[in-house]
Symmetry: C2
Subunit: 150 residues, 2 copies
């Protein structure tokens, strides 16, 4: 067990949850900044060589968790929280792939943010591989898309 | 800030770190089990519809963090920890994409494990999208591969 500690904060255009494009198929093109705390700057060495990064962050305003989630993509059914990206998770962890546009010291300029402004970031990792789309099944989300709900 | 709590444990073939294929380009084909704690079972509803899952887990045996990391893929240079998958991170979070082979109640049979046996799992999310390989830059790792070190 460990206690989470922010290594950075997000500066995004979203000050309210309602402004964030919702649903697992939503396009996230928002640009913004991930401002890394000065004490962690040495941890960024060589990060500018990667085009995409995983950002693991904390849902710091999500409230209590619920194992059952109803999400905007499929509003008439509930799913298990681990089959969704609902913010109300047992460990309030969010995961976003962003495109790294450029780095200036402790400032990472990125595209693809879907977090609220001032969200604490817990980890940054290089994004390396991908599963080919033809090998991917997307469960209830694909059903909801086919039903024309998305 | 939150205190991490396990929602599941990994049962993998790896009882020692030295047995895990290393490096960011390593293939992880190990099959094993993610055993979800009974109290979290309702959170798994509909997860069997997804072919791949993100597993966020805790490096529970990694020791103190270091902002500088030297990794097996590129042994003669150091990189910032956030440009690597080194286990010694400020927040000891691991991230693995696994293929979900089948679910039996609280037992997820998966392929692609790269964690030690008995590793605590903090979150499970559906894996949905991918960045096309032609849009991906892989920084120092690509250099190390070209130099024939991998």
């Amino acid at each position: 067990m460990f206690a989470s500690q922010p290594i950075a904060y997000v500066h995004s255009p979203y000050s309210e949850t309602s402004a964030i494009p919702k649903g697992m198929g939503a396009k996230h093109e928002a640009e913004g900044i991930i401002e890394v705390l000065r004490e962690f700057e040495p941890g960024l060495k060589d990060i500018e060589g990667f085009s995409h990064l995983y950002i693991i962050w904390e849902f710091d305003r999500a409230g209590e968790f619920s194992l059952s989630a109803t999400v905007p993509t499929d509003p008439n059914r509930s799913h298990g929280v681990f089959a969704t990206r609902s913010p109300r998770r047992p460990n309030p962890l969010g995961l976003t792939v962003v495109e790294l546009l450029r780095r200036e010291g402790t400032t990472l300029h990125v595209r693809g943010l879907d977090m609220l402004d001032r969200t604490p970031v817990l980890d940054i990792k290089p994004y390396l591989s991908s599963i080919p789309m033809e090998k991917l099944r997307r469960g209830w989300l694909a059903e909801a898309e086919q039903a024309g709900k998305v």
